[in-house]
């Protein structure tokens, strides 16, 4: 992942203003900041969903503007809101993703992940009836199941129970172990510290700090983080 001077504008609103991000293979980076700081918009640009207004964005070595399809093949994305088609089942989500990503013999891996996220019994129920936590867990599963080169998780812990948090932590650890880059956005600072080696803090669409995630840990980390948000 290589992001330089990323700017995203929606009409008069400047959502992201000058973000820089570099993350190599096996790196895990936490994206922190208040609501409206530009975290989700940055994620959406990296996922090829929203085009950048200006700046340079390369994901897995591919320019998102020049070849968004190739970028989408390289990433796995868990959006911040919902992320599920309401009248399709988890299995149908997996079938679509597997087909479009040209996966072969994917069913055992999908079943294993469904069990790990405790969604095995819900595999053939439409997602409209899912709780918020179940939806989040399935979104993380969908982002990870094809072993992407770049894993983008936007608020993966939001409303998720301890079992789901543990499964998500395992997914992040697995991704790092096989050399994938992970970018994880969350408001839960301690979980970010636990999952990631590095942290980037955004404020008002701009990047205000980049540091070791460990520096955000504990009460001292909370004070540092608060200081960055208030400055």
């Amino acid at each position: 992942m290589d992001v330089h001077d990323l700017v995203v504008r929606f009409g008069p609103v400047l959502a992201v203003d000058g973000v820089h991000l570099v993350a190599g293979a096996g790196a895990s980076t936490a994206l922190l900041g208040r609501n409206g700081a530009g975290k989700s918009t940055t994620m959406r640009v990296l996922a090829g969903v929203v085009p950048p207004t200006s700046g340079s964005v390369r994901v897995a070595g591919i320019d998102v503007v020049a070849d968004p399809l190739a970028v989408k093949r390289a990433i796995g994305y868990c959006p911040d809101v919902g992320g599920l088609v309401p009248r399709a089942t988890p299995w149908e989500h997996l079938q679509l993703a597997a087909r479009l990503r040209r996966l072969r013999d994917w069913e055992p891996r999908a079943r294993e992940l469904l069990e790990r996220f405790e969604l095995g019994a819900e595999a053939h129920r439409v997602t409209a009836g899912f709780s918020h936590g179940m939806s989040r867990r399935l979104s993380v599963l969908l982002a990870a199941f094809h072993d992407p080169e770049v894993l983008l998780l936007d608020e993966p812990f939001d409303g998720v129970d301890p079992v789901g948090v543990e499964a998500t932590m395992d997914v992040v650890a697995d991704a790092r172990a096989r050399g994938a880059a992970v970018l994880l956005s969350t408001h839960l600072r301690e979980l970010a510290v636990q999952a990631c080696a590095e942290a980037v803090v955004l404020r008002g669409g701009s990047q205000v700090a980049r540091m070791d995630a460990a520096a955000m840990s504990g009460e001292e980390g909370a004070r540092v983080y608060r200081g960055l948000l208030d400055t």
Partner: protein, 515 residues
């Protein structure tokens, strides 16, 4: 931070039921703010001007009461008044009791009472092209039939009938919805529906349809407006008082009935959301995979299934009862296709709901995604309008080659027009809508009226043009005319596709519907 005056009005709150009226006002203001575009803003003045013109002009140009064709129209009016109530009931029942002022998912955190919900549904009922067209038809027909001398008296009765009938069918619609939500309620209603169809078929088979129509009590409405030199007399006053009382009573009863319905769980919708789906083999191609999910989004939604069935059957019944000839039946596919597009097509990307962002992150050409969505919309509309044509064929007799060509051409052309318009609007003006509820609409009510007016006008005019070609000696003429219409729809569809393929525009659509 500057704000406008934001405190809520207090005086109405103290009256019985006043708080519900205040709440409806607040919700209306909120919903009104969502309506975008010049057409939606001009809607109110346009409707008022057209309604006044329809109510007055035919009286000035017509032959006068009891003369020529005015007498024929007068004799048809009681059936027209009854038909208005019947179709209003079908519309309210199909939409789960009535349209909602505030979408269900957004209303959850607010204390919106069943009475407020009921009043909102009543206010939204006329914002429906079927309601508006029928109202214009009755006002225009009455105006033509009674002439200028009795116009004021007769039109007063018509307007009050429109209000009373709307309020009364709203009560019935809530009660039917309450029944539907009981255990086995869906099956009971299906049985009642079949019994109704059977009764109509029996009347038709025994040749007593005209007797039944002549026996309708709505003839009192016609008599009330035409007795005496000006129409204003004792019968008129009694009728007006009766209609006002019925309206007031129905508004109050509707609040109670809405409460009964709202206390019961929507079983059919809950079943659709929690039932197990048998897994199918993996789709073979990319388009097949996209189509499978898009079809699931349409056909697994209770409101869409119910809406498409009602749209196919109701005009079909009219065709059967009226023994419509092919040259008239040609108009029907346009009405059905327009209605079908209004179920979800005009905001087609909202089918993905909050899954839009995930779907957009999948590696697939956006043009293929567009094609799949347009195809699924087209097949739903073809199926519904095809069902209507099959029913119409039962009484229309064997078509001539030109009639057959014109009917088939109209079927395909109006569906293409509805799809092209829908996909254009879907890309141009997306809305975040949860279509799980039968009461939800894919766009705000005012926008829906604009969409439905444009669709109904286009498809009806196209139907009329093709109806003329049904008389052509050469059966190839309807096909030639259809080719021209299809070419224009193809151009519109390609333009809509270009908008969708543009990454910046697509990002706006996807982030909007996923919000």
């Amino acid at each position: 931070m500057s704000t406008a005056v934001s405190s809520t009005p207090r005086r109405l709150d103290r009256l019985p039921g006043g708080s519900h009226v205040v709440d409806v006002g607040l919700l209306l203001a909120m919903r009104g703010g969502v309506a975008r575009g010049r057409a939606a803003r001009r809607l109110g003045p346009v409707l008022v001007v057209v309604t006044l013109a329809v109510a007055v002009v035919p009286a000035l140009v017509g032959p006068g009461l009891g003369e020529g064709r005015a007498l024929e129209v007068l004799l048809l009016l009681p059936s027209g008044y009854a038909a208005f109530a019947g179709l209003a009931l079908a519309s309210a029942v199909a939409s789960g009791g009535g349209r909602e002022l505030l979408p269900r998912d957004q209303a959850t955190p607010y204390p919106v009472s069943a009475a407020t919900d009921h009043l909102g549904a009543l206010l939204l009922a006329p914002l429906n092209i079927a309601w508006i067209l029928q109202a214009w038809l009755l006002l225009g027909g009455t105006s033509y039939a009674v002439g200028p001398a009795r116009l004021a008296a007769a039109q007063t009765v018509v307007v009050l009938w429109l209000l009373a009938a709307t309020a009364v069918v709203q009560v019935l619609a809530w009660l039917i919805e309450a029944l539907r939500r009981r255990p086995h309620g869906v099956w009971v209603l299906r049985g009642l529906g079949l019994a109704l169809v059977g009764a109509v078929a029996a009347l038709q088979a025994t040749g007593r349809t005209e007797d039944a129509l002549d026996g309708l009590p709505t003839d009192v409405l016609v008599r009330a407006g035409i007795l005496g030199d000006t129409g204003f007399g004792g019968v008129w006053a009694a009728t007006v008082a009766g209609l006002l009382a019925a309206t007031a009573l129905a508004v109050v009863a509707g609040a109670w009935a809405a409460g009964v319905a709202s206390r019961r769980p929507p079983r059919e919708e809950v079943r659709a959301e929690t039932g197990v789906r048998t897994p199918r083999r993996a789709p073979r191609g990319d388009l097949g995979a996209l189509l499978r999910l898009d079809r699931a989004s349409v056909w697994r939604a209770v409101p869409m299934r119910r809406g498409l069935v009602v749209l196919a059957v109701m005009p079909g019944l009219v065709a059967v009862l009226g023994a419509l000839p092919w040259e008239s039946a040609i108009i029907l596919p346009g009405l059905v296709a327009s209605g079908g597009a209004l179920l979800f097509g005009v905001n087609a990307w909202c089918l993905d709901g909050r899954g839009g962002l995930w779907r957009e992150s999948l590696p697939v050409r956006p043009g293929l995604v567009f094609g799949s969505r347009a195809l699924v919309l087209a097949e739903a509309l073809l199926l519904a309008s095809g069902g209507t044509l099959v029913m119409a064929a039962l009484r229309a007799g064997a078509p001539t080659p030109s009639e057959l060509a014109a009917v088939l051409a109209a079927w395909v052309v109006v569906v293409a027009q509805a799809v092209a318009a829908s996909m254009t609007w879907s890309a141009r003006a997306p809305y975040a809508v949860d279509l799980r509820s039968a009461r939800a609409t894919p766009a705000p009510p005012a926008v829906m009226v604009v969409y439905s007016t444009k669709l109904a006008l286009t498809t009806t005019l196209t139907g009329l043009v093709l109806a003329i070609t049904a008389h052509a000696p050469d059966w190839r003429l309807p096909l030639l005319v259809a080719a021209l219409f299809l070419a224009w729809s193809a151009v519109r569809l390609l333009r809509a596709r270009d908008v969708w393929v543009d990454p910046a525009r697509r990002a706006v659509v996807v982030t909007t519907v996923s919000a």
